[in-house]
């Protein structure tokens, strides 16, 4: 199902209704509309159903992300709140028809908190506004569900890109943290697992 036109709002609403709703929800504006992209043969798709997992892993590999176990990847996408991907809708020498050009997803409880993961655009298609467009559409989707806390973890090289989109680093001193397995807990769990497997013989 192609991403809805009219900045993600229902096509049935009047222009005035659109403006009011956009203001109320503080929706991010789209730098370039779906129609403008469609003219170039680029279509934004929402939902995991049409995603080819092999192609997705290829995309991940090309941007330096690890390839994922397909079963786990399939489950992850099913359990993700919003998945947006970019389809190349025409034949050209730059990409195959229906090729996956970009991807991004947002994990959320659908109400209060969300975090954005796995944002990737094929290297040949980077720096043409696709990443920005992807993020804008993810943000619109999340704001439509009234989700207030939208977070992500950015590699140093893309921090500025996200700042331009309205993301703030370490606001009020809040720090992003990740669990490192090589710690006491990680080792205790690993040791426990070892004991359990030995006990089963």
């Amino acid at each position: 199902m192609p991403f809805a036109a009219l900045d993600g709002l229902s096509p049935k609403k009047s222009t005035f209704g659109l403006q009011v709703e956009a203001q109320r929800l503080l929706l991010p504006t789209l730098t370039k509309t779906d129609e403008q992209f469609a003219e170039q043969g680029i279509v934004f798709m929402e939902g995991h159903e049409g995603v080819n997992l092999e192609e997705l892993n290829d995309l991940f590999e090309q941007v330096g992300f690890p390839r994922r176990d397909p079963d786990k990847l399939k489950l992850a996408l099913e359990k993700t709140h919003t998945v947006i991907w970019i389809r190349h809708a025409k034949k050209s020498r730059w990409a195959k028809l229906n090729q996956l050009l970009g991807f991004g997803r947002a994990m959320s409880d659908g109400s209060i908190s969300a975090s954005i993961w796995d944002v990737a655009v094929l290297p040949a298609w980077q720096r043409s506004g696709l990443g920005r467009a992807l993020l804008e559409r993810l943000l619109v989707r999340l704001r439509q569900d009234h989700i207030d806390t939208i977070s992500l973890y950015a590699e140093p090289s893309v921090v500025k890109l996200y700042e331009k989109l309205g993301f703030v680093t370490d606001p009020q001193g809040i720090r992003g943290m990740a669990f490192q397995r090589k710690s006491a807990i990680g080792m205790k769990v690993a040791a426990g697992e070892k004991r359990a497997s030995v006990a089963k013989g």
């Binding site: 489950l75 992850a76 409880d109 939208i150 921090v159 703030v168 809040i174 943290m177 807990i185 990680g186």
Partner: protein, 185 residues
């Protein structure tokens, strides 16, 4: 609809309801028994009480509408709550005598990533290692289910707390960021 982890090796206690994990630990202290529990129907009403403000490690908690809170808890991958049940010798303890003293929740994609949100311990019960126990149990459960990328956002004042629990800030220089609407940045 069974989650993938329910179909695999994890064995759950009998009265555990999907998708929440019943953590079997119980600890005795001089006040009463501290229980880890699944989310109960009374939980969300307790959570909307205004006595939470000073306890909140994440701003904005007490001002959330209850339906929003309920939806968030329902759709969280894991929710752990701590209750105090005070038992007096000779008297029957009823569920109404349980007081919520701590909570933590995590969202996840069931496969790779989890983010821990809203770790809160009632001020009266802080300093006893309850927050630590909440987070440790969460992490242990997630790792057991092979969800290995466990993340969170820590207020400045609790960064050290999470460091002692095995969390690192900005691993490999990766920065945590939040979106703000125009005019709010």
């Amino acid at each position: 609809m069974k989650a993938d982890w329910q179909q695999r090796q994890v064995s759950l206690p009998q009265n555990c309801t999907h998708p929440f994990d019943l953590l079997a630990d119980g600890r005795h202290n001089s006040i009463g028994k501290i229980l880890f529990q699944t989310v109960s129907p009374t939980l969300t009403s307790l959570l909307s009480q205004t006595r939470w403000p000073s306890a909140c490690l994440q701003a904005g908690w007490p001002h959330r509408p209850v339906p929003k809170l309920q939806a968030a808890l329902r759709n969280s991958y894991l929710v752990s709550s701590l209750h105090v049940r005070v038992t007096t010798p000779g008297a029957k303890s009823s569920p109404d005598e349980e007081t919520l003293v701590g909570i933590a929740r995590a969202t996840s994609d069931y496969s790779f990533n989890a983010t821990i949100w809203d770790v809160i311990v009632d001020p009266e019960y802080q300093g006893q290692g309850l927050g630590k126990a909440l987070v440790e149990n969460m992490v242990r459960t997630l790792l057991r289910r092979e969800i290995l990328n466990i993340t969170l956002f820590a207020d400045a004042g609790v960064v050290d707390f999470y460091r002692t629990l095995g969390f690192e800030t900005d691993p490999e220089g990766i920065k945590g960021m939040f979106w703000y609407p125009p005019g709010f940045r």
